[in-house]
């Protein structure tokens, strides 16, 4: 394969990136790791099954969705807005983390993860789910199924599923407006 270089430009975690010249066909995860030093997204299976590599794609209409960065080319994100696991916590001017996002905080409190390899994917999946619930709240009766559906594709080999589930449920129930009949 001859190496063709195409420059790439996008927004990552709210900041403009590029144009960066990268080889055509490079996968998004490699672009994040090798060109931007954003190493938080995990390469697990490399074939789109485990979802450890998932990043968030922010659509122009205000919706957000998960995209598997190991099987999606970096150029797919040309001109688009992306969030990675590095983009959730609040940081001070020196770049130090001063506060975790609610999802991250609850994952810690619930001891949701053990080895932590799947955690970036779960953080992104749970964040996308919470944002979806902000737009489309569900009833309390639908909540368990909704959370299961939102996290179901993600694989955790330490089997932390229940604690991930409980952490997400606590965030959803304690955030106003996500559940129609919360009280």
């Amino acid at each position: 394969m001859s190496m063709t270089i195409h420059p790439i430009t996008m927004h990552i975690n709210g900041k403009p990136v590029g144009p960066v010249p990268v080889p055509e066909g490079i996968m998004m995860i490699d672009f994040l790791h090798e060109y931007l030093d954003l190493t938080g997204s995990r390469l697990g299976c490399g074939q789109g099954i485990c979802r450890a590599c998932v990043v968030i794609l922010d659509q122009p209409d205000g919706t957000s969705e998960e995209v598997r960065s190991c099987i999606t080319g970096a150029h797919f994100f040309e001109g688009k807005k992306v969030r990675t696991v590095e983009g959730h916590a609040q940081r001070n001017e020196q770049g130090e983390v001063v506060a975790l996002s609610p999802i991250q905080q609850k994952f810690l409190e619930h001891y949701s993860f053990q080895c932590g390899y799947c955690t970036p994917g779960f953080v992104n999946a749970a964040t996308v789910l919470v944002e979806k619930l902000k737009r489309q709240p569900v009833t309390k009766a639908q909540l368990d199924d909704t959370i299961t559906e939102g996290l179901n594709d993600h694989i955790c080999r330490c089997t932390g599923y229940v604690r991930y589930f409980e952490a997400v449920k606590e965030v959803v129930l304690s955030t106003p407006g996500l559940v129609k009949d919360a009280k």
Partner: protein, 432 residues
């Protein structure tokens, strides 16, 4: 898988254990005897004693070869208790209960009545619709229907009522089938290939009388009858079209007899994997065929003198269109199908030389990109992960560009797909 039960009883001797494992490696231990039976020894078959273990084993093999389970066993239901939905332009049919249950199944039928149902489409109490492929099964020998009958009578009776078909007028008038059968029920289906060898003849019997290939791969006329002037030239009854499997049709997209045998045995070959309605056919039926029978089927499909597989033609296409398609391919396809279209083992099939990409008719290529393909576990240890559908990710123009890139680069087909063709298939998705 029956191995664990065998293992428990095999403690008495290592020899038995070894034999069991060897049989398991053979891909279905108990079909081995039946395979030998079914390999064309007509004299032996006629000698099989009614109700004997040999007859039941033969019946088990033939029930698989005839793919009865495709319509008569649902994924979650009891074996042969019916319920699989079959959509048609006339309405929906549901596979019937063919367990030996006396009330809901065929428990009260005699072997004569069973033969009449397969041969004439007439059961003790009604006329069958040709959704039940008696049009194909008609050529089955009496010895074979008796063996299938004997096997089915060994199954566990299941008291599940058969769901009535959901048909529009006038097709809901069953007696009409009497008049349908007069012009359309033929003793012999038309052959798409030529041959005379014993293999070809056995293949003809396997493909027509048992496997009923024509029921999906031959186009149908206005009354739902097989159009025998166009035998096996392909038909789009379901969302995924049944491709042209005539000798010329197979050669045009690169099939060889050994690859086709691999495809039937394992569901996957260099030309691609079984998907759509062909996946359950491999899963439930063709994977169990003996080596000789697989050779027979491909000999029948390709003829005694098979045509050589066609090389992929070089296509001159508009560079702008191809470049746009290539960018999309590298963005959303190459992660699994490879930059050079070589695919990834156990993940995704190759695009280079893929029979769907090479098909002059882009129907299935577009449908696969729009709808995706579910994860599939093939016989043995092979599996492919699910392919996501891109209906929500890519618009009509982008999917047309992608189709054109694939066709021109790896399919030897012109880059002639328009956004309107994508749109038409996108809109028709709801109908299936």
């Amino acid at each position: 898988m029956t191995t664990p039960r065998y293992l428990r009883t095999a403690l008495s001797g290592l020899a038995l254990l070894t034999a069991t494992l060897l049989a398991a490696c053979d891909g279905g231990s108990s079909s081995a005897a039946a395979s030998a039976q079914a390999a064309g020894q007509v004299a032996d078959k006629n000698a099989v004693k009614p109700g004997s273990a040999d007859q039941i084993a033969l019946g088990r093999y033939l029930t698989k070869a005839a793919d009865c389970a495709a319509c008569h066993t649902t994924a979650t239901g009891a074996p042969f208790a019916g319920g699989v939905e079959l959509a048609s332009p006339f309405g929906k049919f549901y596979g019937s209960n063919i367990t030996p249950d006396k009330e809901h199944g065929i428990g009260k039928w005699s072997a004569d009545q069973f033969y009449k149902a397969l041969h004439d489409g007439v059961t003790p109490d009604k006329h069958l619709y040709p959704a039940m492929p008696y049009t194909s099964y008609r050529s089955m020998t009496r010895a074979d229907t008796d063996a299938i009958y004997a096997y089915l009578m060994q199954q566990k009776p299941v008291a599940v009522p058969t769901r009535a078909p959901d048909l529009s007028f006038p097709y809901n008038m069953r007696f009409g089938m009497m008049f349908w059968n007069v012009p359309f029920l033929k003793d012999q289906l038309a052959d798409a290939s030529t041959g005379k060898s014993a293999m070809w003849q056995r293949g003809q019997y396997l493909s027509n009388a048992l496997g009923h290939c024509a029921e999906c791969h031959t186009p149908r006329g206005a009354f739902g009858q097989l159009d025998l002037s166009k035998s096996l030239t392909g038909s789009a009854l379901g969302r995924v079209a049944a491709p042209n499997i005539t000798p010329a049709g197979l050669a045009a997209v690169g099939w060889t007899a050994p690859d086709l045998q691999t495809f039937f045995a394992t569901g996957i070959a260099p030309q691609g994997s079984a998907y759509g309605e062909m996946f359950p056919v491999v899963h439930l039926s063709t994977q169990y065929l003996s080596k000789d029978d697989l050779t027979a089927v491909t000999t029948y499909l390709m003829g005694d003198q098979p045509l050589p597989p066609q090389p992929i033609k070089t296509i001159n296409a508009d560079a702008m269109e191809l470049d746009a398609g290539k960018r999309l391919y590298t963005a959303v396809c190459a992660g699994c199908h490879g930059f050079q279209g070589d695919g990834k083992p156990h993940v995704a099939v190759a695009m280079k030389g893929n029979s769907t990409v090479r098909n002059a008719d882009p129907h299935n290529l577009i449908v696969a990109m729009l709808d995706g393909i579910e994860a599939q576990k093939f016989p043995g240890t092979e599996s492919l992960q699910d392919m996501p559908g891109f209906a929500g990710q890519l618009n009509d123009k982008e999917l047309a560009q992608l189709s054109n890139f694939l066709r021109a680069t790896w399919g030897g087909q012109p880059a002639s797909i328009t956004a309107d063709q994508i749109k038409a298939l996108r809109l028709s998705a709801a109908a299936h």
